[in-house]
């Protein structure tokens, strides 16, 4: 738009001219016909789901497992208090009467809990090892691969562009 014509600039006409240029370049092969689609796909790939690192809860997992291992089932937790007159005594008598059976059940539960704890311990060791390998090796290798691909793409685009000012 020359200076003396700028005041009469018709933006709509200019826009039509720009659109015509786009069509002309496509028709002449000066720009690839699918360049927009290619750019869209490229960006869609970049925004695609990326693998996430394992949640940073290893310390909490260890602490929870230690709490579980320390847990003791005991009759001492029994609370005989009652709001009914004489209720406390009645509860204590019942507790005494079934003490042997209760202790037997508690011992079984304690033994079962030890087995459960052992299983959880083994599982958590496996999961922690896998997560550690995944975080420090697999993800890092994926990042390295993506970096390599990015460098290759950048080089290809630079080659396609040719020497500056050409």
């Amino acid at each position: 738009v020359p200076d003396d014509e700028s005041a009469s600039l018709d933006v709509d006409a200019l826009m039509n001219e720009l659109r015509a240029r786009v069509e002309r370049r496509r028709a002449e092969g000066a720009t690839p016909a699918d360049v927009e689609l290619s750019l869209e796909r490229h960006f869609a790939r970049l925004t695609g789901d990326r693998p996430e690192a394992s949640p940073p809860v290893h310390r909490e997992l260890d602490e929870a497992r230690r709490d579980l291992a320390r847990y003791e089932f005991t009759r001492a937790a029994f609370d005989p208090s009652s709001s009914v007159p004489g209720g406390r005594l009645a509860h204590q008598l019942v507790e005494k009467a079934v003490a042997r059976q209760t202790q037997y059940v508690l011992d079984q539960v304690q033994a079962y809990a030890r087995e459960v704890d052992r299983v959880i311990d083994l599982l958590s060791r496996i999961v922690t090892t896998l997560a550690s390998q995944y975080d420090t090796r697999v993800l890092q290798q994926l990042d390295d691969l993506q970096d390599g691909m990015a460098e290759l793409r950048a080089s290809m685009n630079e080659l396609r562009r040719g020497p500056a000012g050409a």
Binding site: V1, S6, A7, D12, L14, R21, M149, A150, N157, R161
Partner: protein, 333 residues
């Protein structure tokens, strides 16, 4: 706010963001009648001190639901201000949910108004950019940024302003720069300014810039008002992709600062009278590339667009535009 007043809720505030600027302008307006404050929500929920006697003006944004849970749960009356969803389904769904909470809503563009009505706000009204169009000129430019631009960036500079989040369309501008430089031999810089609330999107955008090997595209991120002014002074144009949010305010800001604007036609009512290089709504990266190339290589075009934009900004009446926002608050108070 210790006494009842108007509390505006804004997401991802940044000086370059027109939604933030509108909230600050309205804060002063509401402040003339009583207590007025702006509360910024980020990626994580904050504690919002609000009483039933307050009025909340929520500038709807695509933030995680947990950030606005407390807001939705208050009994205070709410006015929704919508800056445009641009195809963001989650935001449109959020709007529909808000329509069951309040009936009072304002759309800051024709497209935003249509989205509000589609979401169930039958009585939604149109609110123009209640901004001082000359506000960028009043800011003192940051000397360090000005110096940096002078020595580090050789050639014309175009600006694009965020916030950068999914649906903002910045990847289209990056694609346009790839086409302009690879096939049209254009030589210019594109500087991306603004908050980066969507880390995954920004990471993909930076990766795109790197893989396309575009050292002339600079993802700067959030800037201060002084830095923004320095970039505006050093730039030869503003390019607005679709869906960047609050475009009308940003276009007005640029016009008021004498910056030529390239934008989609529907992104701003200011596209009338040839005041900006208005691209059709289906404009893709290739047409943006042509427009960018034309703008940076055609000085008379830039001068004329700047002159028309400046004239358009000169007749902008911020007070009249603010009336809709004041009326909405009075209605629900």
């Amino acid at each position: 706010v210790t006494q009842p007043g108007v509390i505006q809720i804004v997401a991802d505030a940044t000086p370059a963001d027109a939604a933030t600027a509108l909230a600050l302008e309205l804060r002063d307006l509401y402040g003339m009648a009583g207590q007025s404050a702006v509360h910024v929500i980020d990626r994580a929920p904050g504690v919002l001190r609000v009483s039933a006697a307050d009025v909340i003006v929520y500038h709807v944004a695509p933030v995680p639901e947990r950030c606005v849970d407390q807001l939705a749960g208050t009994s205070a009356p709410i006015v929704v201000v919508h800056h445009g969803a641009h195809g963001d389904r989650a935001l449109l769904e959020q709007l529909t949910e808000w329509s069951t909470r309040t009936r009072t809503a304002i759309g800051t563009s024709t497209a935003a108004l249509a989205e509000l009505r589609a979401a169930g706000f039958d009585a939604a009204r149109r609110g123009a950019a209640a901004l001082d169009a000359r506000r960028w000129r009043a800011i003192e430019p940051d000397p360090a940024t000005r110096h940096h631009l002078g020595v580090a960036l050789d050639g014309p500079i175009l600006l694009a302003i965020g916030p950068f989040r999914t649906q903002c369309g910045m990847e289209r501008l990056v694609g346009a720069m790839h086409i302009a430089q690879t096939y049209l031999r254009a030589s210019c810089h594109l500087v991306l300014l603004g908050a980066e609330p969507d880390a995954a999107y920004v990471r993909a955008l930076r990766e795109q810039i790197r893989e396309l090997n575009l050292p002339s595209v600079h993802a700067v991120g959030a800037v201060t008002a002084g830095e923004l002014r320095a970039y505006v002074d050093g730039a030869c144009g503003l390019v607005v992709p679709d869906g960047a949010g609050a475009e009308a305010g940003r276009v007005l800001d640029a016009m008021g600062a004498g910056l030529p604007v390239v934008a989609r036609r529907s992104s701003s009512d200011l596209a009338r009278d040839g005041a900006l290089l208005a691209l059709p709504d289906d404009a893709g990266a290739d047409l943006y590339a042509e427009a960018i190339t034309e703008l940076v290589s055609n000085a008379p075009l830039r001068r004329e667009l700047a002159r028309r934009g400046d004239a358009r900004a000169a007749v902008h009446d911020a007070k009249a535009a603010a009336a809709a926002y004041l009326t909405a608050v009075l209605e629900v108070a």
